[in-house]
Structure formats: C-alpha cells, structure tokens
C-alpha cells in the first residue's frame, strides 16, 4: 500500500518552520535592541544634562552681615510698594552700604569680588519686607564671575588663590540659587536667571496655540468635510504638505518680511514670534487633523445625517469630538517643535539681550532655546553650567506641556 504523507509532515516543511521561527526570534531581538539603544542614549543624555545642570542652579556666594540700624537706609512701606523703590534705595547709598559691610566682614580684597549687582539682592529683600531695616541681617551675596570661576578651579591664578583662601576661612560657599528661576538675563553668569526667557516662551507658545490650533483645525475640517475634490484642493493639499517640510528659518524670513513690515514697533515681541511659529505649526495640525477626521467612520456621519442633522451639526457634534484626540496628538508634535525652535526667532529679533521679563505680548522678550543659544555662545565659563540648567528648564517645560496635552487627549478619547 502506498502510504500518503501529508505535505505538512515532511522533513522539508519542518525545516522551513524552524527557519520561520528563527526569523521571528531575530526580528524580536533586533527590535528589542533598538529600543534598548534609544533608552540608553536617552538616559545618557538626561544624566549628563542633570549632572552639568545641577551646578547651574547654584552660585558661589559669600555671607555678609549687614547692620541696618547703623546703615541709615530709610524705607517707607508704602513707598517700597511703588515701582521706583530700587532707585530710591540706590540713591540712599545702598550699594555703598553693602560694600562697606562686605569689606568689614571679608576684608578689602574679598569685598572687591562681591558681584557689582549684589546690592540688588539686598534691595529686593528690603522691598519684600521693610521691617528688616530694624535689625542685623546676614545676606548670601553672589561673588563676581571671576571669583566664581576661581572657585571652580579655573580663571586666573590670583583668583584661584583668593577663592582657596576664602574657602578655607569658610566665607565662600556654593549654594542653591532659587533666584535663577526668578531673574532674567544678565552679563554676569552669577546674576542671570531664566524667568525672562521662560515667560517669553510661555507667551510665545500661547500666541502660537491660539493662532495655529483654531486655524489648523478649521482648515482641516473644511478640506475634509466640505471642499470638493478637484485640482485646486489637490494643489492646496500638496502646498500644505510642502509647508510642513519647509526649513524653519524660512518662516523666520517670512515673519521678518511680513509681520515686522506690518508691525515694525513689535520687534522681538512674543506676539510676532508666536505668529511666526504659528505659521510653522499650522501645517502639522492640518495634516494630522485631516488624518484624524478621515479616521472617523462614515457610518457615524450617515447616522447623524439620517436623523436630520445638518452638515455643520454632523461636523461639530460628531466628527470633531471623535477626531479631537488625533488632532491633539498632532498639536503636541507641532507645539513641541515650535517650543524648541530657535532659527525663525533669531530672524525677527528675539535674540536681543533682554534683562527684564516681558510684561505682555508686545514687550521685547526672548525664549528658552534662544536664551540657551545665547548663553552657549558666552565666553565666561560660568555660563556653561547655566546653559545646562536652562536646557533642563526647557525640557521640564516641554514635559509639562506634553503631559497636559496627553491628559486632555485621554480625557476626550472615546471607547468604541
């Protein structure tokens, strides 16, 4: 009798089967390897940033006790609440008072290395609480940039020696500097802060979001739901896709040519920066929005139309809510890109040295990535750590922004 062997039980089939399994194992291993590699790179990046950046949140300070009862500074609480308070304290000789007590406590040589703007910290403390003028208060005042680099083992030999001496006497210390988050740009790395750039970034992002999101979503809705399919809409589609791929500095040139010609007095303002970035973000939102709208099943539209909903009601009651999570995903990507963008903002003048945080959308400002770029360009070694610290602030801002968007997305996500 001729025994029939099923083709799935032959030796060659078994061999092929083994090969298939081997291919699957290989694929899994490669995928896992890729993920592990990216995680390792990410961890390395975060670790370096954190290690470098921690120093940026600190500064070298010297303790100076000031006996205000002898200093002859007068501060009326009502006057201290007014804008000119710092100037009034300066006119009363506060800088001299500070340097006098500094030389008393530290000696002439060390007192000369107290930061030139250190008295402003004292002024801020007085303005915050005028009652300290009745007692002796010890301030931790920032040193000059030279002494700070001497402390880090850099800079001139004299400064290193002085830093060594003061350190041995316990007069010099590197302390956590909460003011870094409250101050703005300065020429002395000891005096700089990130608040100005952070606020500038927030205002710019606000303008970007308010402009790009509604325009992008409405454009996507119109193109998907209303526009007829013809050569013109094809052309618009191709243009939008190309727009999303245009190098960002081109948008900067556009902002410079159009927005600054229309509003020449708003140079460096978050309003113009936000508008420029909105141009860049909008195509990303349109593209992701159209995909999200396409993914809404036609049966939902049919169902709504069939009970007599008008096309606008179909769009706003059914299509948009269902597409919103997808649209938000695109918005996150677009906004994250806009937040990290430097080049277009350089073109419209947001690289200026701005020592005060912006008051509003129209006052001069800079943004976090531009601030990082500017600091990384500084010669003074003190800026290296400050740059890393600014990068950490930027990453945290990004994290908060994305976290918020993901929270919103999950909230709107419907189960099917």
């Amino acid at each position: 009798m001729n025994e029939r062997v099923a083709p799935t039980r032959t030796a060659s089939f078994e061999a092929r089967l083994q090969k298939r399994y081997a291919a699957e194992r290989r694929f899994k291993a490669i995928g896992l390897g890729a993920i592990l590699f990216s995680v390792a790179v990410l961890l390395f990046l975060l670790a370096t940033m954190t290690l470098n950046g921690i120093g940026g949140f600190q500064r070298v300070e010297m303790d100076v006790p000031i006996d205000f009862t002898q200093a002859g500074i007068a501060a009326d609480p009502t006057m201290m609440a007014q804008p000119g308070a710092v100037n009034s304290l300066q006119a009363q000789g506060l800088p001299e008072v500070v340097s006098f007590y500094a030389s008393q406590a530290l000696g002439e040589e060390a007192a000369a290395e107290i930061g030139p703007d250190a008295w402003r910290d004292v002024a801020a403390a007085i303005i915050a609480d005028p009652s300290i003028l009745r007692e002796t208060v010890t301030f931790s005042l920032p040193t000059s940039a030279d002494l700070a680099s001497g402390y880090s083992g850099e800079g001139s030999a004299e400064m290193q020696a002085l830093a060594q001496k003061l350190n041995d006497e316990g007069k010099l210390a590197k302390n956590f500097d909460p003011g870094f988050l409250g101050r703005s740009d300065a020429t002395n790395p000891q005096q700089v802060g990130i608040w100005g750039a952070l606020k500038g970034s927030m205002l710019t992002m606000l303008v970007t979001l308010l402009m790009a999101f509604p325009i992008g979503v409405l454009a996507a809705l119109y193109l998907e739901e209303y526009a007829p399919r013809n050569r013109w809409t094809d052309l618009i589609e191709v243009s939008i896709n190309n727009l999303a791929a245009v190098p960002s500095i081109i948008f900067g040139l556009l902002g410079l040519a159009v927005f600054l010609t229309l509003f020449p007095s708003y140079r460096s303002a978050p309003l113009i920066g936000g508008m420029t970035l909105a141009l860049m973000t909008m195509p990303v939102i349109v593209i992701s929005g159209r995909n999200a709208i396409k993914a809404v099943p036609p049966s939902i539209r049919d169902g709504a139309l069939a009970i007599g909903a008008s096309p606008v009601q179909v769009v706003f009651h059914h299509v948009l809510p269902l597409a919103l999570p997808g649209i938000l995903t695109g918005t996150i990507i677009g906004m994250a890109r806009a937040l990290g963008e430097t080049a277009p903002l350089l073109m419209i003048g947001m690289r200026a040295f701005v020592a005060t945080p912006p008051d509003g959308l129209t006052s001069p400002a800079t943004v976090l990535p531009v601030q990082i770029f500017l600091w990384s360009d500084e010669i003074d070694r003190g800026f290296v750590e400050r740059t890393s610290a600014a990068i950490i602030v930027l990453l945290l801002f990004l994290l908060v922004m994305n976290g918020l968007a993901i929270y919103l997305r999950n909230k709107f996500e419907k189960k099917w």
Binding site: P228, R229, P297, S299, I300, R301, D302, G303, A304, L305, A306, I307, G308, A309, S310, Q313, H317, H318, L322, K414, K415, W416
Partner: protein
C-alpha cells in the same frame, strides 16, 4: 423593459411615490426607471442579488445619495405629493420625516440616552428635560429595548450587543417621529435571535410608519413584508404581494432568484 406589477393589489394611499427614477454614478446608470408606491399600511421589501441597486434606490428616498458627489437622480420622488428633489426641498427636514436604519449598527459613541435624545434635541422637539425623558422612554419602549437598558441609560451605546445596538438605532430613528422608516439590510450583521427581535419590532411598527426594508434574505422578506419588489441589474423586475411574488412569480428572472438559481 417595464416592471411587471401584479394586478390584484388593493389600492392604497401612497405615502411615497417614485416615478421613472434613474440614478447615475458618473456615467454609470445604477437604477433604471423605477416606479413604485410606498404605502403606510404595508411593509415593503426590496429583494434582489448583490449590486442590483436596491440599496441605492432606498437611499434616494431620503436623499442620502446627496453625500456622494458623483451621484445624480432623474425622475420624480414625492412624499405626500411633494417632490423631494425640488430645489427648495429642505433636506434636513426630509430626513427628519424619512428616517433610516443602516446595515451595520452605528450608534453614536455617546450614552444610550444621548443617542436617542440627539435627534429630538437638534430638531427642538422637546421642551425641557421631562419631555425629553418621555421621548427617550417612549422611543426605547417602541423599539423593545426599554426593559433591557432602563437602568443604564448613561452607559455608552457602543457597549450594547449588536442586536441591541441595532434596536437602539431604530429607537433613534423613531425618536424624531418620522413618517417613513427605511431599513437597509438591518439584520445582516445580527445573529438569528437578534434578527427575530428586529422582525417582531418591524411587525409592531407596521401601520404607524411606512416601512421599507432592503434584505438579502428571502425568508426575511417573506416573514416581515406584505409587498415585495424584486430588483435585478438596476431595474425593478416585479412588484406585488409578498405571498404572490414567492409562490406565483410572473417573471422568469424572479422565479430563478427565489428558487436560488442565482443571487
């Protein structure tokens, strides 16, 4: 080629009346000069092989084909004597008067309550919460779903079983109190028990609404309808009492289809 219409039909008031209706998709003629009266007293079934145009014709009755840019309708369709394709016809109002249930259950991904209340809300049929509650309850009762869902009206409509979802869609159509309900193969995605429930429901709704059902299942047409139209290749071949169409067809093609020779 003219439709063979049985001569033993009782005269009825036609709720909807189609005369020489042709539908084109671009250059392709999908429906060829169909004429039919849709009464309120009887359930009308459209049967025929796949692609014969019965769904296309159904969708012309509430102008759902308007959403397809290349579709074009010729001929005349009237609802209570008004031409529904005249330029001044309000499509939104038409669809509120001629409801539709689709092949695949398509509840909105909202709560059961919201699914039913949506239609009455956008048409302003209810004043105040109590009236809306009453409409929701009445619609669900008519659709035979009330007992099953009355304790979980706030649950998502998509969490129901397939049969329940389809009855929810029927309740949704009923909620705006239409005059005609079009059903496009409403049971093709359902199991036999759910199908039986929908068929029972159709029998109960008969008389209150003019009902047109498109179906692939000849047994279903025989069970739920009193009038049957047989479609083939875009033409309406034969129209008559359901019992006559199935036992005593006049056309050879109808005979071939119902005996299972093709389709």
């Amino acid at each position: 080629m003219v439709t063979v219409v049985h001569e033993n039909l009782e005269t009825t008031d036609a709720k909807m009346r189609a005369r020489d209706v042709s539908v084109f998709y671009g250059d392709k003629k999908a429906i060829d000069e169909v004429s039919i009266d849709i009464p309120t007293e009887y359930v009308t079934a459209f049967i025929g092989p796949s692609g014969c145009g019965k769904s296309t014709f159904l969708r012309t009755l509430n102008r759902m084909n308007d959403t397809i840019p290349s579709a074009r309708v010729e001929g005349e369709i009237t609802l209570d004597g008004d031409d529904i394709y005249r330029s001044k016809m309000d499509v939104v109002q038409l669809r509120a008067r001629v409801g539709m249930v689709f092949q695949k259950p398509n509840p909105f991904p909202k709560s059961i309550y919201e699914n039913i209340a949506y239609g009455p809300k956008i048409h302003g049929l209810a004043e105040g919460k109590e009236e809306l509650d009453a409409i929701v309850e009445r619609s669900l009762k008519r659709a035979g779903l009330w007992e099953e869902v009355k304790d979980r009206l706030q649950d998502s409509g998509t969490a129901l079983s397939g049969g329940q979802q389809q009855r929810l869609c029927i309740a949704r159509a009923i909620a705006v109190d239409p005059e005609v309900i079009l059903m496009d193969e409403p049971c093709s995605a359902l199991d036999p028990i759910a199908t039986a429930k929908i068929e029972e429901l159709i029998a109960e709704l008969n008389g209150r609404y003019a009902i047109v059902i498109v179906t692939h299942s000849m047994q279903q047409a025989a069970r739920v309808s009193q009038r049957t139209a047989f479609f083939h290749l875009g033409k309406m071949v034969e129209y008559g009492r359901t019992s006559d169409i199935f036992t005593n067809p006049l056309e050879q093609r109808t005979q071939d289809y119902i005996t299972g020779r093709y389709g």
